[in-house]
Subunit: 710 residues, 2 copies
């Protein structure tokens, strides 16, 4: 038992570090004094309607364009300046924000907050800027004929709701556009930043102003503002009523933006999709004769021999084939769902390629051969070379280091155990824990180094588009995290070939995971919501006048969806890679997802700043990751099938040689992969009606090109 | 030896049937009396310049459009009527051809040939029809600014050479447009065909007229006419000077059209690409110690044990890895080449999807949701279902029948051999040949049935676009042919695991193939060209006045490129699937290709009618076939490596168990496939400059859509 325990130790350590980070963050956060302001401001359920967005309207900068004049300006984005910023710098920045594009400005609206000396600038956008940006982004909006059409500023009057920006664009879109405009501010010529000392305060021609101001310590942060009324509305429709099976996706998309909405759509789709494998798992475990290692494990404690056999041969086969079919159908139908969602949200025809490059993009200034605009240029082949010849080998090296660490751990453990058996002293007993601890430290250091390296590499690859940057960065971190999570399981499954151990590990991981999740994502928030926040409310009721902006400012920034996605992916990995060893995986995952949805929803609505969210047309690289995992799972299931003791016994009885059974497994693997590919090819990636809409748009744009003289 | 002989018999039989078809066709054809006319008319090397295209100019139908009036009308396409066609029917057809589109005509020019009663109609096209069709096809042409741009009728004056149709469009394009217009003739209402008896002579409303006339026996054939002068020019620059390494691809594209030009471009690319593997093969065979089974086989006849060992372990490994790298680079760089060719030839933006459906397309009449035109509609999902639930299983069934046939053959052979050994009579000796003969008959019947079934299935799948129809049809036939060709080799390699036999088979196939090819494609044409045709020329010199049209009519129709492509594919299969067994494959293939190019060129220029050729943007499904073969080759090479006697001996010596070596092979296979996929992903499918041009066009069309009110 000692061996099994320390053996699992390293994995549990790695995983607990990953997993508890959330909990710790949450708990630390709850004890912060800052938290009180936020709780108060976020938890008034519509009874007190003082909205953060109502600032003194006459302090907004004025617009020259007559169509953009409006009585009430909505606060969209907050620029947090450092405390010691000079009023002259703040004035200069405000003038830059309000200046027209022709004069190198952002053509936005700015508000100095409480007074000229305060450390915030509130930013909004006039109608014309929003509409032009909508065209530049390539967003589709509802046309007069009720169809979605790529928005065109020239043809704006034919789009519905074009006069009411709050109806026409979602809050997330408006805020993203403001951020985008701020990000694209460039110095027209070499100049000094007023009120900033000489050394950091000189802007080169074409230098990105916001990045420079952040580096110079003038800007501390830029973030979008919550709209309390809408937020309460979303919350009420979302997690308060436990809408797990039918979340208000449109409302989420509108308030939090595309990335978030795609995450929750996927989560919901995934939860539904888990029903069939969960059902199959239950049937295999409890109904089929000879099934269910777990049941027997618990029922017949004494018969250890029997317990380890797991599902029967036919059960195994059913699981392997079902797993192949299910993972294929899952990802193919998600693609269809995804394409219809992006059609519905008007993000099918984004034109990021033709927009300005992302702020961090470096290159020699030149004319973009496609759009004819002056911008930094960087040859594609050079980027490809950097990815292929530097990033790829480096990532491989780090994955190698993970394996090396694992090998070292096993080696060290064997060494220490040998020593303990020889001496048997208390000291040697304590030494038993050394390898596992050393491995944990090693893994953590490696992880931190890798994260830094991955970010630097991706920056150095110099991607022109933000989405491309994100995809490359996520892919790098994803590979490492996945490897880190699964190296031990693969080691147990394929190197040690110890299926009973694998089954125990899997069960304990899933159940432990489940418990911790329940705790962090449901119980803790529930307690906070019911007891702590109620107390806070009472205590601070007389504090109602305080600035809501400052309350939002004190919330921690949203850490991004990476952790959420990787959690889903790792669990999808447990399910698809090893499900034939432990058929109850799907049931546990289903339970997990049901608690995950309201938990995540609560976190996002209540515990963090509102994040910026670019319009996106799909889940990006995550979709590919799930798809790749589907292929790996076919291989994994075939080899697990081969290794299963029942199959081996079956072969021995039938007098089939080990070599032949391996060759048969190879054949099965290749056939299953072929079937999977044919199936994936046969199921169209978009529903017919979406395809027709897309072709209509393509046809129209072809016709338009033909009708115009170039 | 007897066993080995009959064993190979079946394969040789199948293959000789395939291979000799060409030769037989050619020889039969050469003895036809018709041939004389053709030879004469085709072989005057520019000395006598009476061109077929000059018909009495005043007999052409007149055009009403002033811009289309020209003094000289070029004969493009010939409609061959049956002998007993009534003058009234011919007049009706001519009037239909010349009628404007508004009146349900084809808006073409027609010429009645010698007189009103003759059995031909010569068709040409006026400028406006050509230009409008160019826009409909989505062809790109050179714009004023020297860039390629999608042609727009509206903007026609800004395209270069737009006044001279012979410069603006290639001959192949003009002829294809005429065919397309003829194919799209539809009856406006229910009507009788004048001069055709009641039963077959009633056209339903919207019925396709040309198809109906073919069924009713009025039209025997429609084919494009050779332009003698251009043809001589192409020939001179092409095969007469043995331009194997640098064929005049643009001239081929212009005269014969895209499909043909892509075939020859690929052939040339492939020939160049064979140089490195040929070099490696030579090195492995003649230079490396322990290499070259063949050399030893010939040199040390006595030492049979040694001979069978083939290349050394390291040589094997080098071959397997090299094969993976080479096949990946080959197909990726071909994709790049292909995309730059299609840019150059203006076929990157074809709009077949938005054009009229192909003539055989069935459906309920309705409004196309994309283009808004009235046409037959057929739901995509229904087609997918037909492909997936009917075609796929049926194709699988036939492939199963091939395997069944092979198994039956081996079974029968074993039976007969046993019988012969028992009795040893003359009768039983003769019986030895029975299984092989039965198998040949079986295979041939199966093949013919399958070809008919494949055609019917593809028609029944009801593809809207011609390219989609072609791809599905080719895929079906291709799978079967490939299976038929390789089943025996795979059987020897993986079931019998008899590598020496595989090596012998491969060598004999390649060398025999080579000889037959040399004979059919070089020697015979050479003899014909030099001796027969010279004799004919002399003999018929006084016959110069005879109608050249009739001479072309007597040529056999071009059988299509299927046989040519499948030959390349099968040989690529020998190379990539089994090259590590017989390293000289690449050398033999290189020699084969060098003779193939002028042979094919000669055949196409001299021995057949000019074929219609649609503008295409790539090789279509053939490219996919080569790509898939690349993946299969990685698997094949890994398993051959595993089976090779040297590796097995090496393992036995090293004390590695058979199971472990198989597991190692699995690992190598998966890693190689992963590397192949990463490599394929890393190499962009189009060169940078092509990508930029494409994005320019996309950007322009997006802008155009924005600027116009819908």
């Amino acid at each position: 038992m000692t061996h099994g325990m320390t053996h699992g130790m390293t994995y549990i350590n790695v995983w607990i570090t990953e997993c508890l980070t959330d909990t710790v963050k949450l708990l630390v956060f709850l004890t912060l004094p800052l938290h009180r302001d936020m709780m108060m401001s976020l938890d008034d359920k519509g009874s007190v309607q003082i909205q953060t967005k109502v600032l003194p309207q006459d302090s907004w900068t004025q617009v020259s364009c007559p169509c953009c004049v409006s009585k009430q300006v909505e606060s969209l984005v907050l620029i947090q300046l450092s405390d010691n910023v000079q009023p002259v710098t703040k004035r200069w920045l405000i003038s830059l924000i309000e200046a027209s594009k022709r004069h190198g400005g952002a053509a936005l609206l700015a508000h100095p907050g409480e007074d000229e000396c305060g450390d915030v600038i509130v930013v909004s956008a006039p109608r014309c800027t929003l509409l032009r940006a909508t065209e530049d982004l390539g967003l589709c909006k509802k046309y007069r004929n009720k169809e979605m059409a790529s928005f065109s500023y020239h043809d704006r009057d034919n789009f519905t709701n074009v006069d009411d920006m709050q109806e026409f664009l979602t809050l997330a879109e408006r805020q993203y556009i403001v951020k985008n405009e701020l990000d694209s501010l460039q110095a027209q010529k070499k100049q000094r930043i007023p009120g900033v000392p000489e050394a950091p305060g000189v802007l080169e021609a074409w230098e990105n102003i916001c990045q420079k101001l952040v580096r110079a310590g003038v800007i501390k942060d830029i973030f979008p503002l919550h709209d309390q009324q809408r937020l309460n509305d979303v919350c009420r429709r979302w997690y308060s009523k436990k809408q797990i099976w039918r979340q208000p996706l449109d409302a989420i998309q509108s308030y939090f933006g595309g990335t978030m909405a795609f995450y929750f759509s996927f989560l919901q789709f995934y939860t539904w999709a888990l029903v069939p494998p969960a059902f199959l798992g239950l049937v295999l475990t409890f109904l089929l004769p000879g099934g269910g290692g777990v049941v027997k494990e618990q029922a017949v404690e004494g018969v250890m021999e029997e317990e380890d056999y797991g599902p029967s041969v036919s059960g195994h086969m059913v699981q392997a084939v079902f797993s192949m079919l299910w993972s294929t159908l899952f990802i193919e139908f998600w693609k269809r769902r995804s394409s219809s969602l992006s059609h519905r949200w008007g993000t099918r025809h984004l034109t990021e390629r033709f927009a300005e490059p992302r702020p961090g993009f470096q290159g020699t200034l030149g004319l973009n051969p496609v759009t004819g605009r002056l911008e930094p240029l960087f040859p594609e082949w050079q980027r490809q070379l950097r990815v292929g010849l530097v990033s790829l080998p480096l990532v491989g090296l780090f994955l190698g280091l993970v394996v090396l660490g694992m090998t070292g751990f096993y080696h060290g453990e064997a060494l220490v155990q040998g020593f303990h058996q020889d001496s048997g002293s208390l000291f040697s007993g304590a030494l038993l824990y050394l390898p596992s601890m050393a491995h944990t430290v090693y893994t953590n250091i490696l992880k931190n180094v890798y994260h830094a390296v991955a970010m630097q590499l991706t920056k150095w690859e110099n991607h022109r588009e933000e989405s491309s940057f994100q995809n490359h960065h996520i892919t790098k971190v994803l590979l490492f995290t996945f490897f880190n999570n699964f190296a031990v399981l693969f080691h147990i499954a394929f190197y040690k070939q110890d299926l009973p151990l694998l089954r125990k590990k899997l069960a304990s991981l899933l159940i432990l995971n489940q418990l911790v999740n329940q705790c962090t994502e449901v119980v803790v928030p529930f307690i906070v919501d019911r007891f702590l926040s109620a107390a806070h409310k009472k205590e601070q009721e007389d504090n109602l006048e305080m600035d809501k902006l400052r309350a939002q400012r004190s919330l921690p920034p949203f850490p991004g969806l990476f952790a959420e996605y990787i959690e889903l992916l790792v669990k999808f990995g447990y399910l698809s890679l090893f499900s034939c060893v432990y058929p109850l995986t799907a049931v546990l995952l289903l339970l997990n997802n049901i608690t995950e949805i309201p938990g995540d929803a609560y976190k996002i609505c209540k515990l963090f700043r509102k994040p910026f969210s670019a319009p996106v047309s799909n889940m990006g690289v995550w979709q590919t990751a799930f798809e790749v995992l589907g292929f790996v799972s076919v291989m994994s299931n075939c080899w697990l099938l081969l290794l299963s003791p029942r199959v081996q016994e079956f072969c021995l009885e039938g007098g089939i040689s080990g070599k032949n059974i391996i060759l048969f497994a190879i054949l099965v693997e290749h056939v299953l992969i072929l079937v999977k590919m044919i199936l994936a090819f046969m199921i169209p990636d978009e529903p017919d009606w979406v395809r027709i809409k897309r072709e209509q748009i393509e046809f129209n744009s072809m016709q338009a090109l033909g009708q115009q003289k170039l």
